[in-house]
């Protein structure tokens, strides 16, 4: 399984290169990845549907229980079928959707990378691995939404999606960690088999998990990123934002619902958010004029339905939810593809301008009609069959609250039927009121372009008519979640009863709402409340940035004097307070070992004082040099020639460096007249000096172990074959450290050059040619 995920990554990396050669045909090649996945699934399907599982485990970080555990069970098989099956169709569709454009390779790469991430997500059994793939889908989705990176709206929408799903993902990570710790196991299968349900901390864990699921699956009030995500090219909307990625949240709920449905707020939260989302999404869909947005809000509504179904957690509802998951993915992908075709042919998605398209594009209209009937829940399509199962599930669920949820779900279904009609009418209807309609000039798309959508539409019909087929897939899938799901079956004809009545209410109510649409529009206009959640998001976002800017202004005033003062005061206070308590003078301390030491110390002092007193920068640099050279002399006296040599050289280099910088600065220091400030500075300097002195003295006295230098010097020859212990230490004993320091030096050098060049205005035409010539010489010219 890990190989399949890697295959996706590999093909994604190759995609840009392939696209340069193949153009649009690159999509046929990247489809190899999902096709390979489907072939593999085919070989494993038999045993998985019989209740078996396929597990692959690769050790990654053993100490952290972080193994790459992938596991395929029947529910995973259903998800893989959706991810890769719809993936193949979307890749084929994308090949016809795009005109040849230079960034096609990037698109193919991202689409394939997403496909791999999603595959990993539904196969991952390790909790942390699940999170990793979860975030990968967020990142690829961000890049795909912002694919038209020259459009500001696309970039904003992408960022919004990333922030919302990313924040939710972090909450989920916290939840996963709590769950893992409480369960003492880090795989989903083990956690679900032995779920930790006790304790307040689990109450928090489920809330955190749901936060991740709700943001990913666009539940109100976190839904606003999904309509924004429609900025992505339509194949992305069809794949990510209807059929697969937004199902990740639903998938998480599905996996954990059997274990956690009774824990804490799990069931109330999923039911409340699910039903609210279902109704609000449907209500908003009725307001939209952009066909893609009608479907986007429809998707939000359907995701709410799925969350409510899965979240309740009874076996019958899990079965219905699994069926609904399949049905929704199939019909929604088909409908998005239809919108893409219409957009491609008519160059418009505005239902206020399209008119008479049904007569021009009969095949497309037929495909859309099948998808729509399934979405609205009309027999004999898969959407109807699954929704019936959902109604039955809520009717049979114990407790009064399930009836409230059922009522909400029914209302949501009424809205679903209504916006489905709006979609069909808006896309294909002939509207007398439309001035300057688009439609007469629309050309027919090629049959290949329509084929992927048609396949999905036909699947909806067949699966609805012959319910035995999806049963074979859905029953084991639901059983994998909850254990044996009993005798549940999908029924094409459920018999006269409450569920059928509810379906009739849904479709009838939808018709009423549709034909009374002008009244509804007026009502919605009257109730409209600004931008709602979107405004809240943007206000919060802008507020965060402003607060951050304000904090930065406070802690980063831009004054070198303030920075240095703060650093030095902290240094004087924190170790200072401790050193006062522990001050020690080492035994056998002598004033000086030789007269030269005293002389050099005096030179250091004089140099230091002169540096402070002088007003000229140049003089200050020179006197500072005096301090450095005198210290080097002290090393000589101590018998450390290597150290002294290094100190001399560094001192010289620093001196030249200073002089180079000095010419950018005024010749003289600004004369300070503020006596109070001067006093503070003198106090800080004095304190720092005293603390350093005390630390030196105490640390000499505080030695408890043998100095490491003794061993290092002794090892110098036997280990490093060198008599210069300093050099052997640097280049052999601790060579790895030195290598790190070399990297630091390199980075610092490059950074310095970049900084210096950046702040220097350069006239492009007056650029001296020396630099180019210097560059040429590198390539071997004299």
């Amino acid at each position: 399984m890990i190989l399949l995920v890697l295959l996706h990554a590999l093909i994604a990396v190759a995609a840009p290169v392939l696209a340069r050669v193949l153009g649009r045909r690159v999509f046929a090649w990247i489809a190899i990845a999902p096709i390979a996945t489907l072939v593999w699934l085919g070989t494993e399907l038999g045993q998985v549907l019989d209740g078996g599982e396929v597990v692959s485990r690769t050790e990654w970080v053993a100490g952290l229980d972080l193994d790459l555990v992938f596991r395929l069970d029947a529910f995973g098989a259903l998800m893989v079928l959706l991810v890769s099956g719809i993936g193949v169709l979307v890749f084929a569709y994308a090949g016809f959707y795009f005109y040849d454009r230079p960034d096609l390779g990037r698109f193919a790469m991202l689409l394939c990378a997403f496909s791999g991430a999603m595959l990993g997500l539904v196969l991952a059994d390790n909790l942390i691995l699940l999170f990793v793939f979860w975030e990968l889908t967020s990142v690829t989705s961000y890049l795909l939404i912002g694919f038209d990176d020259l459009k500001e709206s696309a970039r904003k929408a992408a960022l919004q999606a990333l922030l919302i799903t990313g924040t939710g993902g972090l909450a989920m990570l916290a939840g996963l960690v709590i769950v893992g710790q409480q369960a003492g196991a880090w795989t989903i299968s083990e956690v679900v088999a032995n779920p930790p349900t006790e304790g307040a901390v689990m109450g928090w864990a489920v809330v955190l998990l749901l936060a991740g699921a709700f943001t990913k699956s666009a539940q109100v009030p976190f839904h606003m990123w999904l309509p924004g995500a429609m900025a992505a090219p339509t194949p992305v909307s069809a794949y990510l934002h209807s059929a697969t990625m937004v199902k990740a949240g639903v998938y998480l709920i599905a996996r954990f619902s059997p274990a956690f449905a009774d824990v804490g707020l799990w069931r109330p939260l999923t039911a409340t958010f699910g039903v609210a989302t279902m109704i609000w999404g449907g209500y908003r869909a009725l307001r939209q004029h952009d066909l893609k947005l009608v479907l986007a809000f429809g998707t939000i509504s359907q995701l709410g339905f799925l969350v409510a179904l899965f979240g309740w957690g009874t076996s019958k509802l899990l079965f219905a939810a699994t069926a609904m998951l399949l049905a929704h993915a199939v019909f929604k992908a088909a409908l998005f593809m239809v919108v893409g075709i219409v957009d491609h042919q008519a160059h418009s998605r505005d239902l206020g301008r399209l008119s008479g398209l049904g007569r021009r594009l009969p095949v497309v209209a037929a495909v859309a009609a099948l998808g729509s009937l399934s979405m609205a829940g009309v027999p004999p399509l898969l959407g109807f069959v699954s929704k019936e199962a959902g109604f039955v599930g809520f009717l049979e669920a114990p407790g009064a609250w399930s009836n409230v949820v059922l009522a909400g779900v029914t209302l949501g279904s009424v809205l679903t039927a209504a916006y489905t009609l709006r979609f069909m009418w808006g896309t294909f209807g002939t509207k007398a009121a439309v001035v300057d309609p688009i439609g007469a000039s629309v050309t027919r798309p090629s049959n290949w372009f329509v084929l992927p959508a048609a396949i999905l539409a036909v699947v909806s019909v067949i699966a609805g008519l012959a319910t035995g087929l999806p049963d074979e897939l859905i029953r084991p899938a639901a059983s994998a979640l909850y254990g044996p799901a009993g005798e549940y079956r999908l029924h094409l004809w459920p018999g006269i009863g409450t569920p059928l009545l509810l379906s009739a209410i849904a479709v009838g109510g939808g018709l009423v709402l549709f034909f009374g649409r002008e009244g509804i529009t007026r009502l919605q206009d009257r109730l409209a409340v600004g931008g709602g959640a979107d405004v809240v998001f943007h206000t919060g976002y802008a507020g965060t940035l402003r607060t951050a800017a304000r904090i930065t202004r406070v802690i980063q005033p831009g004054s070198l004097m303030v920075y240095v003062s703060i650093i030095l005061v902290v240094f004087a206070l924190v170790p200072g307070v401790i050193i006062v308590e522990h001050l020690q003078v080492p035994e056998g301390t002598v004033f000086a070992e030789s007269p030269l030491q005293v002389t050099m110390a005096l030179v250091v002092m004089v140099g230091a004082v002169a540096t402070v007193l002088t007003r000229q920068r140049f003089a200050a640099v020179l006197t500072l040099g005096v301090v450095g050279y005198a210290v080097a002399m002290l090393f000589v006296v101590q018998g450390a020639p290597d150290l002294a040599l290094t100190q001399f050289l560094i001192e010289t280099v620093v001196l030249v460096l200073f002089l180079l910088v000095l010419r950018e600065l005024p010749k003289r220091f600004r004369a300070r007249t503020d006596t109070a400030l001067k006093t503070v500075h003198v106090a800080i300097s004095g304190a720092v000096g005293a603390v350093v002195f005390a630390i030196m003295l105490t640390s000499l006295a505080a030695r408890t172990e043998r100095p490491v230098g003794v061993d290092a010097a002794a090892l110098s020859y036997p280990e490093g074959q060198g008599r210069n212990a300093v050099n052997v230490i640097l280049a052999d004993i601790r060579a790895f450290d030195t290598l790190g320091e070399l990297v630091v030096i390199t980075v610092a050098a490059v950074g310095t050059v970049a900084l210096v060049r950046a702040r220097r205005p350069r006239g492009s035409d007056t650029e001296p040619p020396d630099i180019e010539r210097a560059g040429m010489r590198l390539r071997g010219e004299p």
Binding site: V656, L660, Q721, A731
Partner: protein
């Protein structure tokens, strides 16, 4: 005009000539320090600094009118140094040793006589190059390019300042 430009101004023959005399000697010294460093004071770091000092000398003598101070760009020196040090570490792996583990080569090589080389020599050569690269980078960015941009600023038409 020379105010605040300690290295600006006109070229003078005395530093010019003396640096020409000293430059190569200093470079040879730096290489000696590099090789001697294993058993005597010196090493890659010190050698690199000495070589860097030679570059500084040349820059100071040539002043703002000088050409590039080094035949090599600092990027090459830095990259090459890092490469040599890393490769010398990886080379230890070939003999079944740990990364950067030391080895000794004590052979009689032709006219060179008995030659003893340890793992730290190639490593130290890398250190030498990186340190030299750093000093060249400093002279290049803070010195030479600053001179040029000043010259450009003073003579925006792109003319060279008239010869003294």
């Amino acid at each position: 005009m020379t105010e605040g430009r300690p290295f600006g101004g006109d070229r003078s023959p005395i530093p010019d000539e003396s640096v020409r005399l000293v430059f190569h000697t200093v470079l040879v010294l730096s290489v000696y320090l590099l090789f001697a460093g294993h058993n005597a004071p010196g090493g890659g770091f010190i050698g690199g600094l000495v070589a860097g000092a030679a570059v500084f000398l040349r820059y100071i003598a040539a002043g703002s009118a000088g050409a590039a101070v080094s035949r090599f760009r600092f990027e090459v020196l830095l990259g090459l140094g890092l490469l040599i040090s890393s490769v010398s570490g990886v080379a230890s792996l070939v003999g079944g040793r740990e990364f950067l583990e030391s080895w000794v080569l004590d052979e009689r090589i032709g006219v060179l006589g008995q030659v003893k080389v340890t793992a730290s020599l190639p490593f130290d050569i890398g250190v030498y190059l990186v340190v030299l690269g750093l000093t060249v980078a400093i002279v290049d960015s803070l010195g030479r390019e600053a001179d040029e941009s000043e010259r450009v600023a003073l003579h925006p038409s792109g003319e060279e300042p008239s010869a003294p």
